[in-house]
Symmetry: D2
Subunit: 277 residues, 4 copies
Amino acid sequence: MERKVLITECADAQGLITKITGVCFSHQLNIIKNSEFVDNVQGRFFMRAELEGEFNDSLILTDLEAVLPDSSRIKLVNTDKKRIVILVTKEAHCLGDILMKAYYGGLDVEIAAIVGNYQNLQPLADKFDIPFHFISHEGCTRVEHEKKIVEVIKEYEPDYLVLAKFMRILTPEFVEQFPNRIINIHHSFLPAFIGASPYRQAWERGVKIIGATAHFVNNCLDEGPIIKQDVIPVDHSYSAEDLAKNGRDVEKSVLSKALQLVVHEEVIVYGNKTVVF
Amino acid sequence: MERKVLITECADAQGLITKITGVCFSHQLNIIKNSEFVDNVQGRFFMRAELEGEFNDSLILTDLEAVLPDSSRIKLVNTDKKRIVILVTKEAHCLGDILMKAYYGGLDVEIAAIVGNYQNLQPLADKFDIPFHFISHEGCTRVEHEKKIVEVIKEYEPDYLVLAKFMRILTPEFVEQFPNRIINIHHSFLPAFIGASPYRQAWERGVKIIGATAHFVNNCLDEGPIIKQDVIPVDHSYSAEDLAKNGRDVEKSVLSKALQLVVHEEVIVYGNKTVVF
Amino acid sequence: MERKVLITECADAQGLITKITGVCFSHQLNIIKNSEFVDNVQGRFFMRAELEGEFNDSLILTDLEAVLPDSSRIKLVNTDKKRIVILVTKEAHCLGDILMKAYYGGLDVEIAAIVGNYQNLQPLADKFDIPFHFISHEGCTRVEHEKKIVEVIKEYEPDYLVLAKFMRILTPEFVEQFPNRIINIHHSFLPAFIGASPYRQAWERGVKIIGATAHFVNNCLDEGPIIKQDVIPVDHSYSAEDLAKNGRDVEKSVLSKALQLVVHEEVIVYGNKTVVF
Amino acid sequence: MERKVLITECADAQGLITKITGVCFSHQLNIIKNSEFVDNVQGRFFMRAELEGEFNDSLILTDLEAVLPDSSRIKLVNTDKKRIVILVTKEAHCLGDILMKAYYGGLDVEIAAIVGNYQNLQPLADKFDIPFHFISHEGCTRVEHEKKIVEVIKEYEPDYLVLAKFMRILTPEFVEQFPNRIINIHHSFLPAFIGASPYRQAWERGVKIIGATAHFVNNCLDEGPIIKQDVIPVDHSYSAEDLAKNGRDVEKSVLSKALQLVVHEEVIVYGNKTVVF
């Protein structure tokens, strides 16, 4: 008995659930968990089903295509661990949380490699025997830097790239190579405090709550589809440094949770938003 | 076009979603929103569907019974406002929140009457022209007191009773007359601080968070199925009175939200728990 | 025995707490509660003391001035209820919460009057016998409209103006007449979604958390000093209308809490921020 | 210039702040941060001051004793890193979080050693070059087991013991040797679900929120003074295992925060409660 996840997205219509679950039933697949969502504004239907049984993938897909509207997006994927490459700069907390969870439970990923534009996190990677590639951004253009990174990444054939406090802005050329496959943690409650030094911005504004946002990266800075957000209360006594210090636990927890949702196939991107089942 | 909610609960089996949605489809009912849950431990299947279309209730139910396992529980209900009777003692905040939301939006209920064992909330009821019945518990036994209350309640034929800080313990005889139809707010994060003076208990224990719990009432004090809970942070500087004062916003918000979930048919009771869709 | 609150703000220096509490001690005032804060960036000292005893205000102030740096701001205020005038448009929930708490506990204010640019909340004001002034914005310029409002407000000599979902932008001329005395509730987690239709903006952005912000009004739209913020989780299934509906409980709770902090003299404005003791 | 923390606890009286800060002032110590609390029920005064300057400890203490009531508790401590020994059983997440924060920032502790009653966390300790002592509880009585543990602990002369998911109940004899120096994380929102398998208990009760509690250990199981608590929302779809999985992030974050509060001397134990400044 295998387990797979079936994701369907199509124009809304009557009878979709009957038709899709009917195909599953005809293949004697058991539905472990099922979730649907209809966006009434755009008339789109979304469904995620966790299935158990013996899978004849191509036959199932053919049967589904036969009953669904044209230009439906259907995805039948296994629930194996996903391969990720992590990009970091200097901060250890998000990387450390992913390492701990990948090794001791909580995150169904295989960390293929870590790429850093500083060298200081090499020892942390070494502790867990993960290849660490130090690729400095100094002495080269942004395009050259990214070219070197992409070369390394492609060798590892990752399913997803995780920006675990990678503090470089990526060019559209880079991003386009990994559509909806780059997950970033931004250290603010987006769309508040886009861009550099969000904690300093938050301190200057005198907010009473700070947050973190995990999102897919697209070509607009900090504007990609949001996967997960969380916040903590703060007060006037926090300096900008205190905000940063206290924000770390939220950052790492939001990034890890978002990543787990993505690798579990619980996130569907559509337009600039996500459906998170 | 009408809207109804279909609730199904039965032994788990393959093909249930196909069968149920198939019946809906055959009646040309559109599924606006659908939720399922399987309790794998007990092998129970739960489904809630919001339907739109022309309803032939008895035919739909017959068709559903034909495809579902024996002893399934099927409920097809309209989404009209539910009638409630509110029981209160002295505190105004929960009652006030329900009144405001019933009159200005946020709670799809019709308040048939208010019953109080003190008289001090009569003026609040009067402001909204709701019949207020003052039924003192003094000079009569618990059984006699409840008998008087039941007499008044029954006249109004309410769908639900709401205990909006009604500080009397109800006898099993009372509770049995309204199975899964009495909603209480307990001013603690159950199962912590069952019984009297939970804020004082919380203060004595020195907790750093307090909460409130809305639950259906059964025959064990504060042990009925939980519908909704919420909490707020507190610290050493709060006296027991401060805890009570600060807890009021949580109490009223939790009770109102639980009530709205119940009247929207989003809550299924099974055993001593709830499925909240 | 009386109770008063002493607020001190001055340039930071050694010995300030000793000097200030020394004056209190010499006047045989008991310190019930004391809070201090030093802004190290700007070198400012803030202190709030709740005092109990017999007060010779002018003597105490003279004694304090004698020991404190030049241009210190010293305020010795009683803890009587504050008078407020509430401005509303069409939505009832914030107004209702303030009314309930003013009448049944939780908010130490006396509501002098309500001003509405629509008439629909008149009946709610009537229930509580509060004068309601309907001042339509139609058929007059913004300046004329505000002039009429100011005339009404001034009659009541309020300590604070509360914008309980008053959906009009105030001119600098209006705001200047009530410096740090106008409290607004903005239905977003500022500085996200400044301006009109924040819930629609939030829906379009696909955020996973929404919030509300209570702040003093200054001359930049939604940019005044923040007093209090809170948030609730949401997901893809919420329409813009659902966001608005679910946001109401947060809005009213944040506004009422901010107002209570202000009337309790727990909020000190400095620059564009607040110290909230 | 040094930094120290002054903690004072004594019977409440007029003029205490003046007297204490007066002594600080006379020693030319700058008060960086100051917090006071009066428990009006028991008439106890608590104060914590962060001081900067040149310290003549014994003279300062003598001066303080001279002005304070008899039997005051006065503590003047430096802000160096505290030494801890961590006790674990099988779960890695709390240990991992402490290790990461001790090495990469967020926790001002020096981890002297780790003691485990299973061997599986040895490799994690090795990664960070921390001595790991495997002391099995098998084949020996509880008293014998603890004796072995105490022997190891005492060698390291730790300031605090941290039970990072150490799943053994400690005897009074053990606890008495480290009064208010053992910090435990309990995986429930105490006082709910005391004792074994709190997540299973939570699942059986059908709660809608779960939590974690960090507390000092005393001789009543899970009844020691609470330092920090936090919660997360859950729903009917969570199995007991899901609750445990999702609770881990809260457990580790609560334990680390509590530990940091303790090592920063921000926690005062009195009776069965804590003042957390």
